[in-house]
């Protein structure tokens, strides 16, 4: 491992340390009141002190996120298989998938909350709507991107549609699917949080967005920041986790998973 790579890994950490130190210094020197901008040390203390409230909320939000991601993955891949099997199905359904994708979630969420009585189900549907599109469009693209030479080879040796699907189309689609999954992971979390905000304090759910709203009403700004920190942290963890999955699965064969310097 060279000095360059070490510096590359250290650079974002250094930036982070300077940012947090600058923030703390600004708050102390400027004597900024806590209800306007709390310093990072106070936020950390709040995070520890309020852990009993924040942790269950994080679990609620993550449950919705992962359930939505799971449904989006299964649904997105299933629909992609349907699209790849027939141009007509794709032409008929794709515009509606796009409509779901381009309509802002905050605009649909209130309606869904009215029509779906179970709030948890409504939140799940909201998160699913934003998460499934990248899986669908990437997997469809991947299924269509199988090497034409290999497709001919499969035909020459008399491969049936199932062998072609399992031995050629699905492996070809894998890098595309994993790329879509990484985007979907972040979007599922955003979808869950946005839906919780829309459900608001009136809902029975008690996810992190609910905690932020609640803390906002009570002017408990440090707790708002602590909850925000947890949401960001969860997003980063999901992104990194899916990235790791991608590297492990693609392992030796795909260019995206190969370290060029090695």
């Amino acid at each position: 491992m060279g000095l360059g790579r070490l510096l590359g890994a250290a650079a974002p950490v250094i930036v982070g340390v300077f940012f947090v130190a600058g923030w703390e210094a600004l708050v102390r020197i400027g004597q900024i009141p806590v209800y306007i901008l709390p310093g990072p040390i106070l936020i950390a203390q709040t995070l520890v002190a309020d852990w009993g409230t924040l942790w269950p909320s994080l679990v609620v939000t993550l449950k919705i996120t992962f359930a939505a991601l799971g449904v989006a993955t299964v649904g997105g891949v299933a629909l992609a298989l349907l699209f790849a099997s027939s141009r007509w199905v794709e032409r008929a359904l794709f515009p509606y998938a796009v409509i779901l994708q381009v309509t802002p979630l905050v605009a649909i969420a209130p309606l869904l909350l009215i029509y779906i009585t179970d709030v948890n189900v409504a939140l799940l549907v909201c998160a699913w709507i934003v998460a499934f599109f990248p899986v669908l469009s990437n997997t469809t693209l991947g299924l269509r991107s199988a090497d034409p030479g290999l497709l001919e080879l499969f035909r020459l040796y008399g491969a049936g549609p199932w062998s072609t699907l399992f031995l050629l189309r699905l492996p070809s689609a894998l890098p595309y699917f994993l790329g879509g999954l990484r985007i979907a992971g972040g979007l599922a979390l955003i979808g869950a949080v946005v839906a919780e905000f829309t459900a608001g304090t009136g809902g029975t759910a008690s996810g992190l967005a609910f905690r932020i709203l609640e803390a906002g009403y009570r002017l408990n700004i440090p707790r708002m920041f602590a909850a925000l920190f947890l949401i960001s942290g969860a997003g980063i963890a999901i992104f990194a986790g899916l990235g790791l999955v991608s590297r492990l699965v693609l392992g030796r064969w795909h260019d995206s998973a190969i370290d060029r310097d090695a």
Binding site: F154, L168, R252
Partner: protein, 249 residues
């Protein structure tokens, strides 16, 4: 009897391009036939018609009984599956035609040894050089034990040193195994070196301008390439090609 018989064969693509017209050619059992011609003259299309990968627009392709499923195809690109090992790639045609796994593995290993890739079974395609990938591609075609091997400019993208070596390997394998080869190329030298017979093609629409038997010692090596007999064959073919191009324009 001919292994494959092409009569009045023509191909017009949906775009309206007439790629081939009036091709009559018999592929004899055991021969090494080259289709020689400039780029875009429809050589590859002939090969794909023989393989049945595209249907003809006119005329017919008559294959000897039992030839379907016994044809190997080597493309211009190695066309390997990047997500799996060299061994699995070579086993693919046998897997598709339901050869028992143990037998398929044995045949794949044997084919890899024959193309000089023993020890690379576990490697992934991206870890190999261009020439090695092409060898894997040839091993894949060999392991399926084809009666007819179709090669579409397989060495066009390789450097001359590698190409010469693969030429020698291919000729040796052909003599050992006794299958029939149809080899597409745009190199006069390569076709003379490899073939027992050469069909000279010309384009727009593609047709066969001349067919020539190559009368060289079957034992060919580096000395063959510089021998007077080889030179004479090359000159005759160049004249055929020039005449074909002349009246093609």
């Amino acid at each position: 009897m001919a292994l494959v018989s092409l009569s009045g064969l023509g191909k017009t693509f949906p775009s309206g391009t007439r790629a081939l017209g009036g091709i009559d050619l018999d592929i004899r059992e055991g021969e090494f036939l080259s289709l020689l011609g400039p780029s875009g003259c429809g050589k590859s299309t002939v090969l794909r018609l023989i393989a049945g990968l595209v249907p003809p627009s006119e005329g017919s392709v008559a294959r000897m009984a039992g030839l379907e499923g016994a044809m190997g195809f080597v493309f211009q690109e190695p066309t390997l599956m990047p997500w799996t090992s060299v061994l699995k790639n070579v086993m693919l045609p046998m897997r598709l035609s339901r050869v028992p796994r143990a037998e398929a593995e044995g045949r794949a290993l044997e084919a890899l040894a024959r193309v000089g890739l023993k020890g690379f079974e576990g490697a992934y395609p991206r870890e190999l050089s261009g020439g090695m990938k092409m060898r894997v591609s040839i091993a894949r075609a060999l392991a399926a034990r084809p009666r007819l091997l179709l090669l579409d400019e397989p060495f066009a993208a390789l450097d001359e040193i590698t190409r010469f070596r693969l030429n020698d390997d291919l000729r040796r394998l052909w003599r050992e195994a006794g299958w029939t080869v149809v080899f597409v190329t745009h190199s006069v030298f390569e076709s003379v070196y490899l073939s027992t017979r050469i069909a000279v093609m010309t384009g727009r629409p593609g047709r066969i301008a001349a067919v020539r038997d190559i009368d060289l010692d079957p034992e060919r090596n580096a000395d063959t390439r510089t021998s007077p007999a080889f030179g004479a064959e090359v000159r005759r073919l160049q004249a055929d090609l020039a005449a074909a191009m002349g009246d093609g324009l």
